[in-house]
């Protein structure tokens, strides 16, 4: 049975539908990310789970119990806010202790748990610091400790790393993942950063304009995007117009002068998408001309003008010579590296 369950959840502000028909089952201990551009409804969904907003339609259940009937203060969820929302007038220890105080945890146990929580996030010795005297990364850790110390049934993270610089963000990603794996708290992360979603989550929910575009493991969403939106949002990709011809036997999928045995199912015009790093230069295939060639250290980036429109190709810098600008080449790829979907 699903641990946290959202069923047909929708949220309207006046006439505007911000989230629509959102259904998701989260397993216990799972790390789920809501990924999408700003305004896609991911934060609204998180706030409905947290209880700061009421869903217009649908149900949210935790272990089978209706969560929407419970006041946010009684839900027992741990939340890390984008701004951290630390209490500036309290020390780090007082911040972390607040939730325990509200639960009437006796003083002795409280002190012990606060100490342990701060140690877990690597802030032992910072108990008496005020948030304003801490760096962004340290504040982030206090916020995490404050959310985790109450042993929440679900941990909700609202863009928790977006205020950190790139290097610190990467460190915190690794740390967050380790902590989550260690204590096994079911976690929902809201982010607009596909790298963050992919490196942290068990499954990603890709959202656009209030709707779920795809639910899948990071690999699935990256390699088999269910829609043009998902394929564009999760990194660079090439979308080519192609046709599946079932009049010939065996049936073939044709994109320009490239062709392969057709997959089962569809026929007629389709869109195929291939990641730039999966395209190779070959003797036969889609004919194209190199427009620009950019050296980027560990790889080369090519912009090509192909029969099927512009194409981007990434080649590892393995020391071999690469085609130059203006050169006519052929693009080829393995059929299993390509996603096929109907024409929108």
């Amino acid at each position: 049975m699903a641990y946290l369950e959202l069923e047909g959840v929708a949220k309207q502000f006046g006439a505007q539908t911000v989230v629509d028909d959102f259904s998701l089952a989260v397993g216990k201990g799972e790390f789920i990310s809501f990924l999408g551009p700003s305004g896609c409804g991911k934060t609204t969904t998180l706030q409905m789970i947290a209880g700061f907003l009421d869903p217009t339609r649908g149900a949210i259940r935790l272990e089978g119990k209706d969560l929407t009937a419970i006041h946010p203060a009684k839900r027992g969820l741990g939340i890390v806010f984008q701004s951290y929302a630390l209490f500036p007038h309290m020390t780090a220890a007082e911040n972390v202790a607040f939730g325990l105080e509200m639960r009437n945890v006796p003083r002795g146990e409280r002190t012990e748990r606060v100490r342990a929580a701060l140690a877990m996030v690597g802030l032992a010795g910072y108990e008496e610091r005020h948030p304003r005297r801490m760096s962004g990364g340290q504040q982030q850790r206090v916020a995490l400790a404050r959310a985790l110390v109450i042993k929440p049934s679900v941990l909700l993270l609202d863009e928790p790393l977006s205020n950190l610089d790139a290097k610190l963000r990467e460190e915190m990603q690794i740390e967050l993942r380790q902590i989550q794996r260690t204590i096994g708290t079911t976690t929902v992360l809201v982010t607009h950063d596909q790298n963050e979603a992919m490196s942290l989550s068990d499954r990603i929910v890709v959202m656009s304009q209030g709707r779920i575009e795809q639910i899948g493991t990071p690999q699935e969403t990256y390699e088999k995007p269910a829609s043009a939106f998902v394929s564009q949002f999760l990194g660079k990709t090439n979308d080519f117009a192609a046709t599946i011809d079932r009049t010939s036997a065996p049936a073939r999928l044709i994109a320009g002068s490239w062709s392969a045995p057709a997959p089962a199912g569809r026929s007629g015009p389709v869109t195929i998408s291939i990641r730039p790093e999966r395209i190779d230069f070959g003797d036969a295939g889609l004919s194209a001309k190199i427009v620009t060639r950019i050296f980027q250290g560990n790889h080369w980036l090519f912009q090509c003008d192909s029969e099927c429109g512009p194409a981007t190709v990434i080649r590892q810098n393995d020391g071999r010579s690469q085609p130059v600008e203006g050169e006519a080449i052929h693009l080829t790829w393995r059929p299993e590296d390509m996603g096929v979907r109907g024409v929108a």
Partner: protein
Amino acid sequence: MSASAEERNARTPWALTAPALMLFVGVLLIPLAMTVMLSFHDWGQYKGIEPVFILKNWHEIVTDPYYAEMFGRTFRIAILTTLLTAVLGAPEAYILNRMGGRWKSVFLLVILGPLLISVVARTLGWALLFGGNNGLVNKLLMSAGLIRAPIPFMFTETGMVIALAHVMMPFMVLSVWAALQRLDPQIENAAMSLGAGPVTIIRRIIMPQIMPGVLSGAIIVFSLSASAFATPAIIGGRRLKVAATLAYDEFLNTLDWPLGAAVATLLLAALVLIVVGSNALIERRYAEVFR
């Protein structure tokens, strides 16, 4: 022009501020110094002001209980006014801050707008509302059954405090409002998610954070109330004197300028001490948390 760019840069700010500086030295600092000097001069009914150095006026202020009573009244009224504005203004600012967009700006305008309306007109309004023993306020309170006999508001400290609190209220609301704007918009949600109820949120999370705003508002209200003139003069009448109205009397009715100057100097010194002192205290108290 042979001066280097750096030399020019060093001279320019002084050239730009020189006119204003000369104005302020000539027409503000010198008159203030003259007033302090004036407080040490002698005065007599028939001889007028005598430019000698004596402590007569200061001696009179310190020894005559009339002045102790008057300054006591001045500061008592200022403190009560400050308390009243804090107790009513801080919650109002909080409520205002929680309102939706359009209502918020409408009511902000309604509450802050009076700041710019003539104090005389606003105090006149209170004089009309108090208006003797059957003024509107008394009629309202009596018909609501809150009081049995009319409360005298005109020519009393109660009336002065109420009218002054009304005049000063925008300063308090504005100051608390500014403090509320600095709050993290998610801070109440954060506290709620940790299990805090509404009362706990206000007491443990909101109040400590807006306290600097309340205190700086209190300093503004206190110093303006202690030196207020129009409201005490109109509501207090000729009998209930405060520092500002007494100084006015000494200057324009009794014509004992040196004594009036001494009263004014003492008021200025007391206010500067209190304001600077409490600012320093607040900064020390909150340095750790809010810097």
